[in-house]
């Protein structure tokens, strides 16, 4: 997103005259609405039990890291964190490795069925996950692969793949083909042309799909609930099970949540500008 120096003309009237203060007030309300829950999460994570159970709720309290200590001491939580890291990173690497060349082929070659194939790839985004989770469960049970990280990797791999392909088709289409043509005339091999000329030009697209893929896989609950067991559970499932077993350990739950969302929030801070094209399958460039 471009950094704006000047207020666009259509919005200029919003910051003139006394109604400016009304606009500021509205913005303040909006920001509070979106920020308050996250603020409350941080508060509760740093509260001692006596503080988060007090009525009325305490805004000021002496912070403690006790909750974080307790969460990190749980073997389950560390294990789930590790599982999530493995599953997400392997899935995202594989789907990029498989998806980027496919996108290149779709944007550069003309062949029969290309339109159908690209619409089919787009249409996999229409699946409600709950629709495919039933056959996934059957297939992976048959293969004796439930409760394995491999199954989760495969599922996230295909879940991310359509995103990778669609976003990357857009990025490849934006780079002029003449570069590759002249490289070809100079005698470069097709593989070289792809890796040395086309790939470096679409780096922003790759960053976009990697972030979006990571966020999606990192946060996914449904597939993981059905297909993982105690040893292979990922972070969202671990957080879910916190509540079922320990009823009202609010402090622990919030500390675990803070640790779980930290990586994606950090990613988002640094890579905000790539979010838009990733979020829209490349239909809108940020």
């Amino acid at each position: 997103m471009k950094n704006q120096e000047r207020t666009p003309i259509f919005a200029a009237t919003l910051e003139t005259g006394p109604k400016k203060y009304l606009i500021y007030l509205l913005i303040a309300i909006i920001v509070v609405f979106f920020a308050f829950p996250v603020f409350w999460l941080l508060e509760t994570a740093f509260k001692a039990e006596k503080d988060f159970l007090s009525i009325p709720p305490k805004i000021f309290f002496s912070p403690t890291v006790q909750n974080f200590k307790e969460v990190l001491a749980k073997r389950d939580f560390g294990n789930a964190y590790k599982n999530s890291l493995i599953v997400c990173s392997v899935a995202i690497v594989l789907s990029t490795v498989i998806g980027v060349p496919a996108a290149y082929a779709l944007s550069r070659f003309r062949f029969r069925g290309r339109k159908f194939l690209s619409f089919y790839i787009l249409s996999t985004r229409f699946f409600p996950p709950v629709v495919v989770v039933i056959p996934f469960f059957q297939i992976f049970s048959r293969l004796r692969m439930t409760n394995t990280l491999t199954a989760m990797i495969l599922i996230y791999l295909v879940a991310i793949l359509p995103l990778v392909i669609w976003v990357m088709v857009g990025f490849f289409a934006d780079i002029p083909f003449e570069l590759e043509e002249s490289a070809c005339i100079d005698g470069a091999s097709p593989i070289k042309i792809f890796t040395k000329i086309a790939l470096p030009l679409v780096k922003p697209g790759i960053v976009a799909v990697v972030i979006l893929g990571l966020i999606g896989a990192w946060n996914e609950l449904l597939y993981a609930t059905i297909l993982t067991g105690t040893d292979t559970r990922t972070l969202p499932v671990a957080i879910y099970s916190f509540v079922s077993y320990e009823e009202i350990a609010w402090g622990n739950l919030c500390a675990a949540s803070v640790l779980a969302i930290a990586p994606v929030v950090i990613f988002t801070i640094f890579l905000q500008k790539y979010l838009v094209s990733g979020l829209t399958f490349g239909a809108v460039k940020g």
Binding site: P8, F10, T44, A102, L154, L222, P236, V284
Partner: protein
């Protein structure tokens, strides 16, 4: 900003410089994965839906259209459909209006705009399961912060997700909190890319704010708005985790959408056949709707 990637590449003649085998090298792994884990599961689902398959019953019989007939004549099914539609329609409408408004307001000069923008998009990227538990804590009728805040302005305590009357509203509130940032982000990026000259001319001609909004801003942004609309519509039909974590479909069946019901039928009541039939109906519905919007809406997918 919006573009038609595939159509544009129509003019390229990559086939002339690459031997055809490279097409297969590049494409095959992806197609194999998509067939194995997207097309094949769908076939399994279709097969399931014509059987009385159950996880607790060893024998599976072919039952033809019985699952579908039973579903379509079952008032519960239609109740869930209505709940789903209530959820989807109110969520999408509010998210579109609110997201657009916030994007517009954020066009003015603001201190720390980048930080404020980041604060607004955090709900969208943070793990929904964690955020929903956070809301559960805030919704708690006795000890939650929300009722305390309401008491400060003399509003009586609410039951939130614990009462059938307010549960759906509460769930939609969380959905809006989580997904409005998506619309905001898209529309913001669309507004940044608008040509200023057009608006300069409009101001010269004496156009006011509302006129510019209606006659120029909305039409110019319609490609971005259509995409935001399509994606929000699809995703709110897909929503599972928000409802699963906040209410599990209850109290009673107050928040039982089709997604939740499919999940329960399959994995709590073990009735794979019936769940698959329901899932297939949902899929066909979402597919047809998306297809219609893409074909009619002049969206950059072709």
């Amino acid at each position: 900003m919006k573009k038609n990637a595939l159509k544009r590449s129509e003019n390229y003649h990559a086939n002339n410089i690459y031997p055809n085998k490279y097409l297969y090298y590049y494409l095959t792994p992806a197609v194999v994965m998509l067939v194995a884990l997207c097309a094949f599961p769908l076939l399994v689902l279709i097969y399931n839906s014509f059987t009385d398959m159950s996880m607790v019953k060893p024998v599976t019989n072919f039952v033809g259209l019985r699952n579908f007939r039973k579903l379509l004549t079952n008032p519960d099914f239609w109740n869930r459909f209505v709940t789903t539609m209530k959820y989807v329609v109110s969520a999408v409408v509010i998210e579109m209006v609110l997201g657009f408004t916030i994007a517009l307001l954020f066009q003015i000069k603001l201190r720390a705009k980048k930080l404020l923008r980041l604060i607004i998009i955090i709900p969208m990227v943070a793990a929904p399961v964690a955020m929903c538990f956070l809301w559960t804590i805030m919704f708690n009728p006795k000890m939650g912060i929300l009722n305390y805040l309401l008491s400060l302005i003399n509003i009586p305590p609410q039951m939130w997700t614990s009462s059938p009357d307010t549960a759906l509203f509460s769930v939609i509130l969380v959905e809006i909190w989580m997904n409005t940032p998506f619309v905001f982000l898209l529309v913001s990026s669309g507004m940044t890319a608008l040509p200023q000259e057009l608006f300069e001319a409009a101001v010269m001609d004496g156009a006011g704010f509302w006129q510019m909004l209606r006659k120029m801003l909305l039409p110019l942004l319609s490609p971005v708005l259509s995409i935001a609309f399509l994606f929000r519509l699809q995703d709110s039909f897909k929503v599972f985790d928000i409802i699963y974590v906040l209410t599990g479909g209850g109290p009673g069946t107050a928040t039982e959408t089709m997604n939740i019901s499919i999940y329960k039928t399959a994995f709590q009541y073990s009735r794979i056949g019936s769940a698959s039939a329901q899932a297939l109906l949902l899929y066909i519905f979402v597919f047809a709707m998306s297809y219609f919007i893409i074909k009619r809406g002049n969206i950059g997918f072709d």
